[in-house]
Symmetry: D2
Subunit: 401 residues, 4 copies
Amino acid sequence: MSGQTPIFIPGPTNIPHRIRQAIDCPMEDQRAPDMPDFTLPLFRDVKKIFKSDAGQVFLFPSSGTGGWEACITNTLSPGDKVIASDFGQFSHLWIDLCQRHGLDVVAVDVEWGEGTPVEVYARHLEADSDHAIKAVLVCHNETATGVTSDVAAVRRVLDDLGHPALLFVDGISSIASIDFRMDEWGIDIAVSGSQKGFMLPGGLAIVCVSEKALAAAESASCPRCYFDFADMIRTNKDGFFPYTPPLHMFRGLRASVDMLLEEGLENVFARHHRLAEGVRQAVAGWGLSLCAKESKWYSDTVSAIVVPHGFNANDVAKLAYLRYGLSLGLGLSKVAGRVFRIGHLGDLNELMLMSAITGAEMAMRDIGIDVVPGSGVAAASEYYRKTGRPVDLNAGVAAQM
Amino acid sequence: MSGQTPIFIPGPTNIPHRIRQAIDCPMEDQRAPDMPDFTLPLFRDVKKIFKSDAGQVFLFPSSGTGGWEACITNTLSPGDKVIASDFGQFSHLWIDLCQRHGLDVVAVDVEWGEGTPVEVYARHLEADSDHAIKAVLVCHNETATGVTSDVAAVRRVLDDLGHPALLFVDGISSIASIDFRMDEWGIDIAVSGSQKGFMLPGGLAIVCVSEKALAAAESASCPRCYFDFADMIRTNKDGFFPYTPPLHMFRGLRASVDMLLEEGLENVFARHHRLAEGVRQAVAGWGLSLCAKESKWYSDTVSAIVVPHGFNANDVAKLAYLRYGLSLGLGLSKVAGRVFRIGHLGDLNELMLMSAITGAEMAMRDIGIDVVPGSGVAAASEYYRKTGRPVDLNAGVAAQM
Amino acid sequence: MSGQTPIFIPGPTNIPHRIRQAIDCPMEDQRAPDMPDFTLPLFRDVKKIFKSDAGQVFLFPSSGTGGWEACITNTLSPGDKVIASDFGQFSHLWIDLCQRHGLDVVAVDVEWGEGTPVEVYARHLEADSDHAIKAVLVCHNETATGVTSDVAAVRRVLDDLGHPALLFVDGISSIASIDFRMDEWGIDIAVSGSQKGFMLPGGLAIVCVSEKALAAAESASCPRCYFDFADMIRTNKDGFFPYTPPLHMFRGLRASVDMLLEEGLENVFARHHRLAEGVRQAVAGWGLSLCAKESKWYSDTVSAIVVPHGFNANDVAKLAYLRYGLSLGLGLSKVAGRVFRIGHLGDLNELMLMSAITGAEMAMRDIGIDVVPGSGVAAASEYYRKTGRPVDLNAGVAAQM
Amino acid sequence: MSGQTPIFIPGPTNIPHRIRQAIDCPMEDQRAPDMPDFTLPLFRDVKKIFKSDAGQVFLFPSSGTGGWEACITNTLSPGDKVIASDFGQFSHLWIDLCQRHGLDVVAVDVEWGEGTPVEVYARHLEADSDHAIKAVLVCHNETATGVTSDVAAVRRVLDDLGHPALLFVDGISSIASIDFRMDEWGIDIAVSGSQKGFMLPGGLAIVCVSEKALAAAESASCPRCYFDFADMIRTNKDGFFPYTPPLHMFRGLRASVDMLLEEGLENVFARHHRLAEGVRQAVAGWGLSLCAKESKWYSDTVSAIVVPHGFNANDVAKLAYLRYGLSLGLGLSKVAGRVFRIGHLGDLNELMLMSAITGAEMAMRDIGIDVVPGSGVAAASEYYRKTGRPVDLNAGVAAQM
């Protein structure tokens, strides 16, 4: 197929040129005497993306799933009780991981399209007067349904109750894209991955851990070695690693963090919100609706779009790929066939999304869904026009770039 | 600016990943004993893109303008008469170059928006019974106006009259994109450049020369050294060069030629035509018209779009760039301010063009041009849907990719 | 520092241009319908590097240590007895990992500089009449000391005794560089990593597992999730993955496997042996000796070189790096300060090694070690000259390249 | 062939990673409104490499030969007299170019191995009382023989005589590597190319022109168009170009200039001198001699090494390439077969040169030249050790990197 085919799945995301070049470096010696000059500032600056001063960041060569495993096995012991909720494929899998490591999971079922049920959590925690619940798990952004949960509200519940449970947050598809505040929200472990808002390839779990969670590690008895915080702590403090680190990914991460901090996190969040809102306008322009039940759940990183009854959403995605080279997200598990997804996180802009919107529209029409040609683009483009930055055609150029 | 910003100017064009990687190679020794194993097949295969068996190809480190200069100085002598026509910025500049090298140019003025005036040429050539006209110049595709001329018709005129003039064709923005037939059309020198249909960066003039033109070089007295065919002929025959060649560009050219031949030239032409036609549908959807006066002149590599009276087309292009990161072509010289251009040649696909069409539409609306939101994309996307390749969602995937 | 500075540590190794380019690709959709067309042949061909038909290969986003963990946790249960030997930093760490996962390790201490003590293993296994020993661990190539063990001999012991223990081999710094035969040697799990003979960056554990080991996984009760074979088996069979795979690394792995198979594994091994032997000639030329006690232990991927008493080998490595930009391997743990290491695996050639040999010599002289200038290069270069491929200066070039 | 094979020809030179990455950028729009923000500072900073305040720099898409042609055709008229000397392949070719453009060249023959004969020039200029000699041509560094001429001395002659001739210098293989002072030496046109000290691929002539030479252009009647300064002046002043510029090369040039200025030109010159001196020590260690007759002629960018009678130097280069993957420079024209060349300019370091020295030694021994194994490396490495920067192993690392 000719031409560029950026992807519009909710991660992995398109890798910016600057990050691709940072990754594409000659191999280095991970034990070189000047390696700490690179790694120590990297650890420090990655924490800024989590908005954490007090925490410690760990970079594991693994997927985000490995980050979940590190979180659980370092802080808990077999039989420990945790509370979690299941409202999408990824929140579901995290529960499964906990169970396989021998935890006793209070798994709250929630309809897909809604987020973390803060009130249900509150009831369980209130009832837990002997503090048997050791950890509260929140999936900040459920990638399968395009739903963002209210982490701060969970924190308030814990604080109001004076409950000492650790607060673990899956921020894989939110961190570096959606407002996230590790310290302010009292998060004990936040798990992220390289391949979403960090705009890197997959292969790096990025985990930020509070002092309270580090203290819990001392008595946690889940067996662990590869993901053991202790080996990392011992070697990271001098800028080194307990085993061969993926240095090329670290070089990419350096570029990623630089780009995010140069743009400013608030600007990054605003950009994601604006691009997401344009996609939502397009969905409305088509006369379709989102999987997310209410606007308070709308995710700024991914929209799951419900197709009309009688149509298979997987056909939309498959046809878009085969006919137009467009990668959309499939519906997973319970919503397979009912939704397709447009990922709108990472290195994107308005006009890239226009091609995704048009391609989705063409694929929908190809399988017989009766959306009006151009209706999605018309709605999105008018929104983007209204919310774009002002340009003065008569002013000097440099000031406006 | 976040995201990818492919360009939609009529050259230079977007460089495919494969070509970028081919260019990005460690430096080589241009006098290595195995260099001819690379260069000799390259010379041979580049000729296939010109559809020439009999000709000889020369690769000059220069822009296409250098290719014009090579063409003129190697075959003509100061005072020689040539005929050319001026119907756009590039046909105009070629005439200027001829004059600066001391040629006597019969410069036929044509309204911008039309192409080579075959009948006028015919009258001049018919009247030239003593064959004072040594060369006939045709700009195959005028990039400034989006007009393609009929080279074969010029050949027929020469043949019908038995006129021995050399036929020189500027194919810079047509070769490797629009049907071009060096040998069949009896072209004596065809000039192309790396940065259009070859999808390379600028910096390489690619010139194909007939035996008749090579013979003419022997008596041509225009002073020349850098662009002298003779030095090239002497060294190229063994696979080497008279001065340091731009080897990285040659590596890119190898990849380019491979890609073009793998796709098949007829498929390349059909792809360009289909993509171009979609853009023209969008222009019609907007209710606007092209600079090209009649459909017979329509170029499959670039469309120059006339903005309504009272608006400055340069503002469209400038605003598209500053606000949406979209590079459109400016109107040049006589049509500056009256047209903006969408280049649709090289490494493109439907969805990329959707972003260009939308971006142009947004910029037009931003400056007050009253096009209907989504009208361009609606027209283009319906055209692309109707003309796209069939996909069977139930069949195996591999067969369809 | 100007110029190229390839590294000469025993992994990570220098990444060939072709692999770097394969890795540097636009992000792809891991759930694209044609992804299995890429992944299924990759699984198949990676097995060829292990010389395994019967086994199944798993690609974990992790370091080689993760591969060890996958090996242990998928096949064993807490309390299971295994035998291993400790003759270097990496064999030592594997034992530690087993213990942290609750295994009962018979850890045989061996002097650093020797390899796996086959006779000691034999005695333990012979005495183990009730087959309490569930697995035998062999570190094929101990990277810390430059010692290669005889895996086939361990297999013979097991076969002779009819002992059913699983045979696990750490081939991280041997596979794709030193003769390795998964099926022929009856290996049940072989663990490799991307960053040694595969010439990729770190970040991928490449594990090949026999049917017998897969069967053992069904009753193994070590807790596991991230490294669980079962999730991989379920998804890999269709060409997909249980979590986001590092696709860019897979693209690099595809190039790596292609390069290895195109060269031919026996040629790869011969190349490593010849380059290694040149380094050993240089060491002899300097009048120094290797950490490896006998020639039967000599590793073809890394040489650990003992410095004379009174000198700190770390100073050699540090000075080489700081003064000449040369990365040598440090001595680790028990041999820290006593040896420095030259890695000679992966994408290297004679002349690259000449710069490593010279740089090591210069650094040794700088700290006062009295080696004769040029002595290392003289010995190595004469060896390489004698063993190089014949070149006929009068013959055509193409045939010889 | 496995491994890295940097080249040791006297240009093109190895391209640093940073420059390769700068070149490998997505295609840009050369008429974008912010393009001048990039190009105008580039013009300004390139002049710093020439050490010129007063001059104007031109960037032609061409080889260095094109730069010669630009120099001649813009400032002179057919029949004009110039003086030049022929002491190597490149000084010879420049004379040929002048003659083909109709100039009357006083061509002074000098034995190859010597440089510009300042006294002979002085005699001609002194005798030229009517100032018929319009230009004096000096090849600053003759790449074929490894000879550097004394440009300042030629300037002094002109000044002493009050002769108004223009001073043209071919600095292709000296600028950015060897001390060069455009303004201080009163040079009117200095011609350089991208592929030597600028460390870029071939394809860019970089020409710096004095105000006096620009004034001469107004009356110069050599026909010209592609290389016409006037078109460049008209468009460059706003940051644009008369024809499609090779923007990727300009991005590379930006990186090159940044690297050179960051290191500091005097440091660049000192680095080249030190690396060159090491090679000369190696030649002495072998008991061989240079083509350059006296040390005052020794070039810091290339050494042409004379092989003993009875041997063919081309065999050394050919065998080094075919057997060891080492690119050395061939002997050209008059010294073909008598010398081979080691280029030591651009992005190099000590240890890279060690591989070139060893490879050359191995190839010499292979064809029977009786140099002592290791003798070249021993001499060079001891020189580099003595002249290397001091390293304090006990001090912090960061300060020393």
